[in-house]
């Protein structure tokens, strides 16, 4: 089970308090009457699905109830950073975004 730091509550809490909510920073295209089928398909369905670092949304459903974003490594499942909704994705070199010292197998 993952241990996730909610940026609003400021606490490390077990994964069962949270709901994963898909990839983060996906911007809805618009205005709707000028969006092509290809753009809708990309917005709705196409995903980077990276092997490595991913930015994703989580919701602290059994805590504060709020959505926030996280950067996590999909090979080790180690969280690099969690940050509030609306904040930009932290740069790779930002504090707290350092390589985890020990990867979980």
């Amino acid at each position: 089970m993952l241990l996730i730091r909610c940026p609003y509550c400021g606490m490390d809490r077990p994964e069962i308090e949270f709901r994963h909510a898909g990839a983060a920073h996906i911007i809805r295209p618009g205005p709707p009457d000028r969006v092509t089928d290809e753009e809708w398909a990309a917005f709705l369905y196409l995903r980077d699905n990276p092997k490595g670092r991913v930015a994703e949304r989580w919701r602290h459903v059994h805590g504060c109830g709020r959505f926030f974003n996280a950067v996590r490594d999909t090979v080790t499942d180690v969280f690099v950073a969690t940050y509030k909704a609306g904040e930009p994705r932290p740069p790779e070199s930002a504090p707290g975004a350092s390589e985890p010292t020990e990867a979980r197998p």
């Binding site: 993952l2 398909a41 980077d48 699905n49 499942d77 197998p105």
Partner: protein
């Protein structure tokens, strides 16, 4: 060497010293007609049918690890075709029919055992949905029948049908032609069959790039064992499809999730069929070794770690212990995870891609094992003719742009 009673007797009487390796370990050639990326069941089946039915024998199957070491060796081996939509029914029934003759086709015992797959209904909604499935299947000529709780218990005596449990059993759908097979044997059988027809299976050979010419057409791949040229490349990389397709600049409608399974210590035969419950996320069958094979739902987050949270297994075991009270004192021997590539509509993608010469067969999500023969069969035809096999035609990549989704997510819940 052809397997037969005679060869078995002969080897038994001569000390089993004469068995040969079942496939070669060739060095990569500089070029092939077709390259298949991924030597799981689906990839090996594709290579086999390319050689067998389409006469394309200059084929390489590239595998970054060892053949059958991914999801082919990690699934719970359930075979059925009781899907809701006509497109899925055609695809999975095509596969079930191939399973029925596969051991003879390959001269390799894949231990196909059509022992019946029973899917439980726990609520009024479940009953309605299940009966809708049954009627849809029967209209398509696929066997599926409704059982009362008493009939379900008669078919699977260890089932708990008391009405005072948290999710009481209100009935079940039974597909008698459904069942299980030996997952490793499927990969080995197809590998042996393909190898004999001239297909090179290249293990420890990871694809690192996809080469294209000025017009964008595929010209080959680069691998950890050097560059290999081919005019056609078929990607059958399951959980890693997004990574491989990314090498050709294509974003896929896929997300990769861990899917866990576990087995108990071996016990005497107690379970004559497969039982699944989509509502409470559990399914179970008994292997020929006697282990109870148990599958769970996916973890909630995307991952390539081939592991998942223990609470997922625990949630499944809660359900298993209630459905099958005799399992409460069983010890679990081991659990593991595989990485499954899930599409938004929970149906696979089989076909051409925007890059000429590049084909993809992916998105089987949590239920690809049952489709292994059919998937390889229609994908081989798609590659050989450069046009979709009629059964594969609805499962194109374009459906996410046109909106013609095949929405089995609502129809089949999480479990396959």
């Amino acid at each position: 060497m052809k397997f037969s009673l005679f060869s078995l007797l002969h080897q038994g009487l001569t000390g089993n010293q004469g068995w040969q390796p079942q496939w070669r370990d060739p060095a990569p050639k500089p070029a092939y007609d077709v390259i298949i990326v991924g030597a799981g069941g689906h990839g090996l089946a594709t290579a086999y049918y390319l050689a067998k039915e389409h006469g394309i024998r200059n084929v390489a199957v590239l595998e970054k690890g060892w053949l059958g070491g991914g999801n082919t060796g990690r699934n719970t081996t359930i075979i059925r075709s009781n899907y809701l939509w006509e497109e899925s029914e055609a695809l999975y029934e095509h596969s079930v029919k191939l399973w029925e003759t596969l051991s003879h086709e390959l001269n390799y015992n894949v231990m196909h055992s059509p022992r019946g797959v029973m899917m439980l209904a726990h609520s009024v909604h479940d009953v309605q949905v299940t009966k809708r499935h049954i009627h849809a299947n029967r209209l398509a000529g696929i066997d599926n029948e409704w059982l009362t709780p008493e009939q379900a218990k008669e078919f699977c005596p260890i089932l708990n049908i008391s009405r005072d449990i948290r999710y009481p059993i209100l009935g079940a759908a039974l597909q008698r032609r459904g069942g299980v097979a030996r997952h490793d044997a499927v990969a080995w059988g197809y590998a042996r069959g393909a190898d004999r027809l001239g297909v090179d299976i290249l293990q420890n050979c990871e694809v690192t790039a996809i080469r294209r010419d000025a017009s964008g057409r595929v010209t080959g791949v680069e691998t950890t064992r050097g560059p290999i040229a081919a005019r056609k490349v078929g990607v059958v990389a399951a959980g890693h499809t997004s990574v491989v397709m990314g090498m050709a600049g294509i974003r896929m409608p896929l997300e990769s999730f861990p899917l866990q399974a576990l087995v108990s210590e071996p016990v005497k035969p107690v379970m004559p069929c497969v039982v699944m419950s989509n509502t409470i996320h559990a399914y179970m069958s008994q292997s020929d070794k006697g282990e109870l094979v148990i599958g769970a739902g996916t973890d909630q987050y995307t991952s390539y770690s081939q592991t998942g949270g223990l609470h997922i297994s625990q949630h499944t075991l809660d359900a298993i212990c209630e459905l099958f009270p005799m399992t409460r004192r069983l010890r679990m021997l081991r659990n593991w995870g595989g990485i499954v590539d899930v599409t938004p509509d929970r149906s696979p993608i089989i076909g051409r891609t925007p890059v000429p010469g590049l084909y993809v067969n992916c998105g089987w999500g949590t239920g690809g094992f049952k489709a292994t023969p059919g998937s390889g069969h229609v994908f081989a035809a798609t590659i050989a003719r450069d046009e979709p096999h009629p059964i594969a035609a609805p499962f194109t990549l374009e459906r996410f742009t046109t909106g013609r989704l095949i929405d089995e997510a609502a129809a089949a819940a999480v479990a396959h």
